[in-house]
């Protein structure tokens, strides 16, 4: 089977600009959440993009573009594409798309009538805008589309990229997820669902958790056919070795309490990677800090990993940046790769009180060294689940 490798990473998150900024600050215990939200406060679009590019993009697309510029540079692509353009894809997920653009234009429509709606409204709001912008920015002419599966959109995008490369549709794919939903409508809508934390604290798996804290940002990865990457002498960061996706077919917002869909996605991801549950040395959890997710995810991990679940360190990036919705899976895949490479697992910030049978090792307090046994692969899974019952799990191995 074709091996798919990760050669470039880029991120814009509430912890700052850059993939290494995300990882290093999280590992150091820094939390990017302020006033109950994970806003990318260090991000100013025109510091990275031309005025024209910035105003032709909703904030979610701006995040994706900036993360993609970093990812391509990190892959050594900044001097030019290493493959024929038609063989390089762009697959970028989002949960919602340009909701800030939708709200601004809806207000313009309400206040001024149809003639006040911007000609840029459609190109900015559409859910495929980030994938298209990344394609245009870098001249990528292979398969190009967005993925939409709520909070597993980013992981599903990466999964589709893995498949496109394995199948031969592309030699490389620039992939990930982006979201910018810190808007009045989005806050009110998630609030109406009773999904948001009222305390404004993201503390996944803790007994006091009371909902998720919304964040924003993007994560972008460069995936390449392993043989092609090695032939060009690329630095290989990781192998994207497995992807598993299932649906709960249970409820539009609540996870199946049995965690069976999530467990099946974990199992499928490991099978895809040719790995056993006992091979998993780290779990980057979906860990939203909602009462239902963290319970169902714990059950799913116990089902999928069996007795090994109690031995494997589990941490949630959302404890440091909140829930980036459609960007979460991509940002967390990047954090997972960097944790494996550094052999240092960042903590689940804020975890202090055990909640009954949520009794796994959630890596509280501080980062922990990852000890690998003889011949043990640095292999992790990154979980992403979404409203609608989506379960997407990536299996990643450091190189």
């Amino acid at each position: 089977m074709v091996e798919v490798v990760v050669t470039g990473i880029g991120a814009v998150t509430p912890l700052g600009i850059g993939a290494s900024t995300l990882y290093e600050r999280w590992a150091a215990g820094v939390c990017g959440i302020e006033d109950g939200e994970g806003r990318c406060r260090e991000f100013t679009a025109t510091e990275h993009l031309s005025v024209k590019d910035a105003r032709r993009a909703d904030r979610f697309t701006q995040f994706a573009l900036v993360a993609s510029i970093e990812a391509l540079a990190s892959a050594g692509w900044d001097e030019g594409l290493p493959y024929e353009a038609t063989r390089i894809g762009s697959i970028v997920g989002t949960g919602i798309g340009g909701i800030g653009t939708i709200e601004a234009n809806d207000l313009a429509l309400f206040e001024g009538g149809p003639k006040h709606v911007s000609p840029l409204a459609v190109p900015l709001m559409m859910g495929n805008a980030a994938a298209a912008a990344v394609s245009m920015r870098h001249g990528l002419k292979g398969p190009c589309f967005g993925t939409v599966s709520a909070c597993s959109s980013g992981a599903d995008a990466i999964g589709m990229a893995i498949r496109a490369i394995r199948y031969g549709d592309a030699v490389a794919v620039v992939t990930g997820g982006a979201e910018a939903a810190l808007t009045p409508l989005s806050r009110a809508a998630f609030g109406a669902l009773d999904a948001l934390s009222t305390s404004g604290v993201s503390r996944p798996f803790d007994a006091r958790r009371d909902g998720f804290v919304m964040g924003e940002g993007a994560g972008v990865l460069v995936l390449e056919n392993g043989d092609a990457a090695r032939a060009r002498g690329a630095r290989i960061l990781a192998v994207a070795s497995g992807y598993g996706a299932t649906a709960d077919a249970h409820h539009v917002t609540a996870p199946a309490p049995s965690g069976e869909g999530a467990a099946a996605a974990i199992a499928r991801s490991l099978e895809d990677a040719g790995a056993q549950p006992s091979d998993v040395v780290y779990v980057n959890a979906h860990g939203t800090s909602t009462p239902l997710n963290d319970r169902a995810e714990t059950v799913a991990l116990k089902t999928a990993l069996g007795q090994h679940a109690a031995k494997v360190p589990i941490s949630s990036t959302k404890s440091a940046i909140g829930h980036l919705l459609g960007a979460a899976g991509a940002v967390e895949a990047i954090a997972t790769i960097l944790a494996l490479r550094a052999k240092l697992i960042p903590p689940t910030l804020g975890w202090a009180e055990r909640d009954g049978d949520l009794d796994l090792d959630y890596v509280p307090d501080r980062a922990r060294a990852l000890e690998l046994g003889d011949g043990q692969r640095p292999l992790a899974i990154s979980n992403s689940f979404g409203f609608g019952g989506h379960n997407a799990v990536l299996c990643l191995e450091a190189r």
Partner: protein, 78 residues
């Protein structure tokens, strides 16, 4: 009735806000050289209609090649 100077200012400021280099924007500048495309012209048409009550059809816009062309058609009709 809008003054030509006011029309020129609104058009020039709009093009700069779309990302054109301020020092390159003059009457003779070709819109393509300023990287002004069809979406920018759609936005400009909307601004012109709102500010000066001049409605530009797509046929009108197709005849606009330079900054001066845009100013002249609005001055003529305002």
């Amino acid at each position: 009735m809008a003054e030509p100077a006011q029309i020129e200012k609104v058009i020039t400021d709009s093009l700069i806000s779309f990302g054109a280099n301020a020092e390159d924007v003059n009457r003779d500048a070709e819109l393509t050289a300023l990287d002004i495309d069809s979406l920018d012209l759609a936005e400009l048409s909307q601004i012109i209609e709102e500010q000066f009550g001049v409605e530009l059809t797509s046929a009108d816009v197709a005849e606009i090649h330079t900054v001066g062309d845009a100013i002249d058609i609005v001055v003529e009709r305002a």
